[in-house]
Point group: C2
Chain length 805, copies 2
Amino acid sequence: MPYEDHDLELDLRWWAAANYLTVAQIYLQDNTLLREPLRPEHIKPRLLGHWGTSPGLSMIYTILNRHIRRTDTDWLYVTGPGHGGPALVASTYLEGTYSEIYPTVARDAEGVRVLCRQFSSPGGIPSHVSVPTPGSIHEGGELGYALVHAAGAAFDRPDLTVACVIGDGEAETGPLSASWKLPAFLNPRRDGAVLPILHLNDAKIAGPTVLGRTSDEDVAHYLSGQGWAPVVVEGDDPHRVFRNLERAVREAHETIREAQHAARSGSGERVRWPAIVLRTPKGWTGPHEVDGVLVEGTNRAHQVPLSGVRDNPEHLRLLQDWLASYRPETLFDENGTLVDELAALAPSGDKRMGSTPYANGGRLLTPLTVPPLDAYALDVPAPGTTFHGTTKVLGELLRDIYSRNTTKDGGGSFRLFCPDETASNRLDAVFDATDRCWQLPTTEWDTALSPDGRVMEVLSEHLCQGWLEGYLLAGGHGLFASYEAFAMVSVSMMIQHVKWLQHARDLRWREPVASLNILLTSTCWRNDHNGFSHQGPGMIDAAIPLSSEVVRVWLPPDANTLLSISDHCLRSRDHVNLIVVDKQEHLQYLTLEEAHEHCARGASIWEWAGTEATTADRPEVPDSPDIVLASAGDVPTQEVLAAAELLREWVPYLRVRVVNVVDLLALMPVRDHPHGLSEVAFIELFTADTDVIFAFHGYSRAVHELLHGRTGAARFHVHGFSEQGTTTTPFDMVVVNEMSRYHLVLDALRRSRRVPERSTDLADYCRTQLERHRSYVVEHLEDMPEVKDWTWGSTTSKCAGRTPA
Amino acid sequence: MPYEDHDLELDLRWWAAANYLTVAQIYLQDNTLLREPLRPEHIKPRLLGHWGTSPGLSMIYTILNRHIRRTDTDWLYVTGPGHGGPALVASTYLEGTYSEIYPTVARDAEGVRVLCRQFSSPGGIPSHVSVPTPGSIHEGGELGYALVHAAGAAFDRPDLTVACVIGDGEAETGPLSASWKLPAFLNPRRDGAVLPILHLNDAKIAGPTVLGRTSDEDVAHYLSGQGWAPVVVEGDDPHRVFRNLERAVREAHETIREAQHAARSGSGERVRWPAIVLRTPKGWTGPHEVDGVLVEGTNRAHQVPLSGVRDNPEHLRLLQDWLASYRPETLFDENGTLVDELAALAPSGDKRMGSTPYANGGRLLTPLTVPPLDAYALDVPAPGTTFHGTTKVLGELLRDIYSRNTTKDGGGSFRLFCPDETASNRLDAVFDATDRCWQLPTTEWDTALSPDGRVMEVLSEHLCQGWLEGYLLAGGHGLFASYEAFAMVSVSMMIQHVKWLQHARDLRWREPVASLNILLTSTCWRNDHNGFSHQGPGMIDAAIPLSSEVVRVWLPPDANTLLSISDHCLRSRDHVNLIVVDKQEHLQYLTLEEAHEHCARGASIWEWAGTEATTADRPEVPDSPDIVLASAGDVPTQEVLAAAELLREWVPYLRVRVVNVVDLLALMPVRDHPHGLSEVAFIELFTADTDVIFAFHGYSRAVHELLHGRTGAARFHVHGFSEQGTTTTPFDMVVVNEMSRYHLVLDALRRSRRVPERSTDLADYCRTQLERHRSYVVEHLEDMPEVKDWTWGSTTSKCAGRTPA
């Protein structure tokens, strides 16, 4: 269908309306439809906003609107240049979505006034494309994630096309640069499509951009080398650019649909996905020159091109002319309502990009089918006596989640995202259900790799996490599994996602979405086989200060607790769950039933491990424990239990309590976190005044940070990861960080309320063992036999021979 | 000069020696020169290491050795695939460097035994290319930074060529993907060169790589589109590949030198820098098939191809054959020393890549010339009465540091790195000394932009920080300035750099290097004009748990303290300094002299702001303060002072102390941090038992974390950033986070030791002001006049009219 002159003229008028409202939002607090000459008091006291990128964003929106109406297809608009917030607010206002969601911003003169006043104002809306912006799944602030979010939204959404506008500033970032590898992972049969629109307007805040100053030929090579088929649209004449962009969008979409059709009818070849390179002037249609200096087309158009409007009559006049140039009187009727012939340009209902359910994924969300956990539960005949790979059971659960949440077209609603580590992290059971996703050539010796695979492996935490975020915000479920230390690579994305969810929870129209679940495995304690670079538990510290409504930190000590927690997290909504658990073989403690109860409580006394029961009837022993040993995390729990056993063996009448914490933020006071234990429950666990030796998975001060405000916080003595590491043995890691059973025993004896008989002997024994350890590892290059296979109950026999009973 | 057959045969034997020692390090603890048939007890108890990438790394090293000897040029080798640690250890051992640095690893049979036993063993060396590896400036662990580190090392080093080996796994990461934009920033006149060698061996841990499965044509387009001139070297026949690689290196270096010569004689054009794409089999020369499964050339060769050597006689036999295939008896003489004709292949002295001073930058480091600070000091006639842009003075200092540390060739030893925000961060005075660095086309309206500019602006925190890290480790000085929130984008790099310095401090042969200085500006409190995404002080939380030997956190309250601290940081060695200060206009408090004293102490009482002096003689007032108001950070200090003034005005006989903390880690107990105040000094500041209302720049729990172990830590009541934000006014930011002067006063009255007269009136006043604030900002879209220009002393007059005196 041709793009008639009549259509073009209408589109240019819609565009003028969007540009008008963009400028009005940035500048005006009154006279917002320019019904009288501008006066200083019409101008906002603070001028905030970004004009430069806005006209381009609005032009693309205009063209897409027409295309959607013609083709009746579903499109999502991802705005990389999020600073262009007012442009997206304007477009969604013009199409009617905005007023439906926010009735006070009505489609009349008063609505336009509210629209302008709320922008970038206290109590109003942020200046960036953000959570309150209809049609957005992408916060425009921290740059780099537009294309990963767009891709994530397209996975398993075969009917969706995501238009992703990428600014040339953002294109310099690492995550965006990596995102172009998408064609290796996007499946034309079962996924939707992503149409990148690389918007080169030459400049960022203060200077030119690399791609803006790169030749068309080089830009085309850059993209074609990564599997795209780029088309350049360029110019500063609106008529010409509109025509060319309209054609480019139309042809790109035809190419996409042909490729999808071919793939879906079984005859597809590898796709070169279309991409549009759009070069238009920064600040297009704005003031060309200000104070004798060129503005339009340069970085000086980035934010507010006229900064002195309130005090400088010449600037005020320029603004008046600029606003008037859009002829608002021809765009809005006397009520201040968009004139009918323009209003008719918007697609209808949920086809409007501001209203698409793909941008409000909770509307598309179907509950995840999670099979009953009993089939995966480990048999734990007695606590601490058997070893098992903790994450292995999760792999089996995920395998069946894949199977049960797959659609006929080979898509589904669940995906696992992981830098090439799914097998390394012992989650490889998933490959019984599906392969790794791979659209590039394969060889005969590849395993678990195919175009239809839906496990997303790419050696980039940014891509993994960003894809998952987009997938979740468009209504999917998923898990990002990472080496613990390297999750820090994308920690800022986690922080931004928490901020997104924090705001989304305040907006009723945003339906809850599935939580962002991050499995931190290959942890610091058991990266003994890798270097110091692989040892870093800092994700916990990064998560703690963020919104308590959103963030959860889980430290399952074993497989059945991991199952219980994973089940909970995968069913939860609007949270960011960090689950920290190692992948190696570890001691197993709880049956599934016990695990459920433990996880529901968040922290419990493990009575079997303490001596409160066995010492209860002895008159010389006080009622409350002499010392509490507590732990959070798998390796710390192992060391605490070994310490408890040493104490039981050597000083049996010491009253020892053992507490395990699985829900870390339960330590926080209840006023600071909804999972915080009540003070009564806290004292029931830790007493009010007994010293607590706390073995912690992460950096020790994180626990102190959590405990502030608790009764007797100073009596907690935390042994955690103290940033000591290298390639060494598992036990050496706990020794060099002073969290070994021997360190814990020594600290317990030092802090204990009473000094039982034989304390000195036990302390000597511990010191001797620590000395012996060092010579043993250097001589034998491995752990001492006594520690490496320690199980609950084994100390008794070991020590028996060595010490007078 | 041709590559004679004789040379080639020698090089292949050197390569065999390197490969032999690589395999030996991974497997053997004894019989390390294979002088008898292998027995299980010769095998290490734990097999750790990565074979797959190693033969390629050693081949490149071999070829470069020959090239260095022929051309007598300086080369640095950056090993992206850091897992290939044993290959680099082997190469630097063969060239002699290793034994010079570590004499116990001598060039004889016992040395080879130690070499093998120490690898990946407790008390030995890490498995990755790392700090102890001679010739390395790049820890191989967290992937993505090879090319940025290589580039950083080349800046301002005109005689250096950096060979940067990039694995195809790493090439999938965000930071590495962005790094290819280097040709836009590398100046052939004054900088050295970077020769990327993209090593495609098809696979990462568990599957293929994107570039490994991309056609040569597409890979070439990908690189050429970014300004490189790629050459492909491919094959699995060592003779052929050696010949082709030798030619590729030789021709690349010729091209580089021609381009540099042209540029340096003033006739240069834009350079297309050479790059080598090298395709060789993963695990080349290792076991081809194991247990009937193909290994060589697949991901199964990634780590330890034969895993069951100790227990599986067939695997033991395969290992025996594999080791023997290198014919060690022809490589090492009867003493176990490398035979002379091979030893002669190494370059000599500092030309050896393991010995180059460019990889031990402290050897090249010259002290930075920092001009006397007096010229930049702000005149502060009275504390808290004048406003000034705090970072502006730093910009002026940096301008003159640029000028005074510039060499004749236009290079120098100092650079500022910043995502396009130098001007936004008010550091633009530097542009009086130099421009932004830019090798792409320029236009007439560009400002402060030229090929010879040495301010590094690119919209990527990864590139900025990575370039600076490389620059520092090769002997330069510098500063990375970032929007506070977005420094989190590259926080994992900061963490890895701290780890590097922590290890380097333990190695005597590593000379101290200039500190990594990170200026966090455009902070959370004054990103009121941007969105919530721009508001995040989490860098402090990330830094606190890291090595106390390395990490410093500075919160200057004003310009002169910023000068004092910057001077200190720029002169310091082997630290990571976080300097947190906002860029907007702020109140100024201290003269330069006072600032020096304050910074040297770390924290001081600001007597002028408290009432201890004015209340000292009143009999009814106790000796110790009723309340302490403390702050760390510019905006918190302003609010604390405004609160102090309100208290002084309304309840003048309340004994108030005001403390300012500039060196945040001074709060830590001295046993935990070398900057920690002694307990005596701590109590002198904060008393032993008075409640402290602490206004803090960052997340409040970070302070609690630091205070653990201090006398009466529970009496500190911290008001910090509580993750509340949006686009709003400056004062609204402190209100919504409950750190405003009114919140502080209310808390002070609640916690004060005594309840003075008129406390209730003051509390009512504060509550009224907070209510008024909300209606004011919504109505006027700006801050109340009383708060937005508040200066020390202004409350008196303001309040006077409102309250009975």
